[in-house]
């Protein structure tokens, strides 16, 4: 089983880095959004509870990080739909490799790619205005890894159930992007109306954002966010649950 999972993992990594369009396509647009929105909104944005020291470029950094991960994992998982009907996965699914191995390999591979893409952006923390300690930076990387795993597992489950890539795009726009928007990635929790605040609190992506923001800027103390340890724990739990759900869906047929 490990051999089969490792094979699919390796395939995912090879495929991604051989396709320059995908590498750039998943990385550049979020960075561009970050630069444009960050520069445009820069001075007019004020984070409640801070003395105006946190600009939008800095606030939006964690959101951009997860957008990179989201785009990467969507690109990687959307391929399942075609791949299963008329591609490499056809042969995988009639091989003795277990479904669990298939899910593990695919999700691990795709989330590793998302994680590495995000990690590349995480190198620009200082440009965004953060000055984290090494341990803070490492905790942020951990949160990034867990977020990538969860989002990829979610993408996998949706792709497995989708009949066409168009259907997946619809889900992407109606579900995945709003999930990201309502995570504190674009606007903070405190200024949102109470019904939105409720949605944001039950949204797993919120805990990824919170964990990254807190680990990068512990002193800034963005109000209304859960404790860093709690965020990480919830994030880990959610990602594990989503990965288990993906395995369940794929093995049920």
């Amino acid at each position: 089983m490990i051999l089969a999972a490792a094979t699919l993992f390796e395939r995912e990594i090879l495929r991604f880095y051989r396709d320059r369009g995908r590498v750039i396509g998943a990385f550049l647009p979020p960075v561009l959004f970050w630069l444009l929105l960050g520069s445009g909104l820069g001075s007019s944005f004020r984070l409640p509870g801070t003395a105006g020291s946190v600009g939008f470029l800095q606030f939006f950094f964690a959101g951009t990080l997860l957008l990179i991960v989201l785009f990467t994992s969507v690109f990687a998982t959307i391929s399942i739909i075609e791949d299963r009907k008329e591609g490499f996965l056809q042969a995988v699914l009639v091989s003795p490799a277990s479904r669990l191995a298939v899910v593990l390999g695919k999700v691990a591979g795709a989330s590793a790619v998302g994680f590495l893409q995000g990690l590349a952006f995480l190198l620009f923390v200082r440009q965004a205005g953060f000055s984290p300690s090494l341990s803070g930076w490492l905790v942020a990387a951990l949160a990034l890894f867990l977020s990538s795993l969860g989002l990829t597992a979610l993408g996998f489950s949706i792709a497995w159930k989708s009949s066409s890539t168009q259907a997946f795009h619809a889900v992407m726009n109606l579900f995945l992007l709003p999930l990201w928007m309502l995570s504190g990635a674009v606007f903070p929790l405190q200024t949102a109306p109470s019904w939105l605040r409720f949605v944001m609190r039950i949204n797993p992506v919120s805990y990824g954002i919170a964990a990254i923001q807190e680990s990068l800027a512990p002193a800034q103390g963005i109000a209304g966010l859960p404790h860093l340890g709690a965020s990480l724990a919830i994030l880990a739990l959610m990602s594990a649950a989503l990965a288990a759900f993906a395995a369940f869906i794929a093995s049920r047929e």
Binding site: L3, A4, A6, Q90, A91, L93
Partner: protein, 327 residues
């Protein structure tokens, strides 16, 4: 629909197989296979011949363990294809109609990854890959991305992939789709070579008559039912009558005149008039003499597999394009 237990020598034994596609939003439930039974003996080739929508692709999916039968059973080398799925999968090599190559990977990566899915690793894997590359003449393109290969070469890699783990049974779905006649012949030459080398049982779906002719036995499918089973020669011998095909500049006119003047019934199929009846060769001189202008060419032939299909179904074996072609 239980049927007799599996005989010892059958590589593949199918009994009372049925499959239904559940109703979806726009289409009602579709019975794709109904009560199909046949055996394929070890080391022989069996063709699943049928037009689009005949159920042959569904049958392929079930044989390849990609779909479960609704009822009935499939035994592969004496093992239940549903309950002993993993063991069965090890004895099967599968070639899909749509390519299963990862086009972004190189040829050798594709083959190597396939081997690992079947549990090969280390030196056993390297050896198997080397043998496959040698056997299928892939040495020159082993390091190239699969997307740079020609259609014929890609099919050859598919075959190399499917046979890498040494399966006893090879299951193919329209394997020569999209290949030109030369590449198609070359693909089958490879396959026949393999068959004589080792005792390989081959099951393949096809809608191509010339491909079907070359197989040991055929199961002809139509609308989910198996309508004939036997060697191509046997099947053709069972059709009474010969066939005259007449080419004409004005086929409808000739058709009417032949009926009026000579009482010969014919059918117009794809611009060619067909007369199918016992002793059709006796009509040959009559037609040529009566209509020297209209009858441009008259061709006499013994029944073909297409005639077998027409005799059993009353319809022409046609390849529908697009609409209504399920499975």
């Amino acid at each position: 629909m239980g049927g007799a237990p599996v005989s010892g020598s059958a590589a593949v034994s199918v009994r009372g197989l049925s499959f239904m596609y559940p109703a979806a939003r726009k289409s009602p439930a579709l019975l794709a296979l109904s009560g199909v039974s046949f055996d394929a003996e070890k080391g022989t080739s069996l063709g699943l011949l049928g037009p689009n929508g005949s159920g042959k692709s569904t049958l392929f999916k079930i044989l390849a363990t990609a779909a479960y039968p609704a009822s009935g059973s499939v035994f592969i080398l004496g093992r239940d294809a549903v309950r002993e799925r993993n063991a069965v999968r090890r004895s099967l090599g599968v070639v899909f109609q749509h390519p299963s190559l990862d086009l972004k990977l190189t040829v050798s990566e594709n083959i190597r990854f396939q081997g690992r899915l079947y549990g090969l690793s280390g030196s056993a894997l390297s050896k198997a890959v080397a043998v496959a590359v040698e056997r299928f003449g892939l040495a020159s393109c082993a390091g190239s991305a699969a997307e740079t290969l020609s259609g014929g070469m890609r099919r050859r890699v598919e075959l190399a992939k499917a046979l890498l783990h040494g399966p006893e049974i090879l299951i193919l779905d329209e394997p020569t789709t999209g290949l030109d006649p030369v590449a198609r012949r070359e693909f089958w030459r490879h396959l026949q070579g393999l068959r004589s080398e080792r005792s390989l049982t081959i099951l393949t779906t096809t809608h191509l008559m010339d491909e079907a002719e070359a197989l040991d036995r055929l199961a002809i499918l139509d609308r989910g039912q198996m309508i004939a089973l036997g060697a191509p020669a046997e099947l053709k011998a069972a059709v009474s009558g010969d066939v005259l095909s007449i080419e004409s500049s004005e086929p409808p006119k000739l058709q009417a005149l032949m009926l009026d003047r000579l009482g010969i019934k014919s059918r117009l199929i794809d611009g060619i008039l067909r007369v199918e009846q016992p002793g059709a060769h006796k009509l040959f001189p009559q037609i040529v003499e009566s209509f020297p202008e209209l009858a441009q060419a008259v061709h006499f032939s013994k029944p073909s597999l297409e005639d077998v299909f027409i005799a059993k179904t009353g319809r022409r074996f046609e390849i529908k394009k697009g609409a209504g072609a399920a499975a």
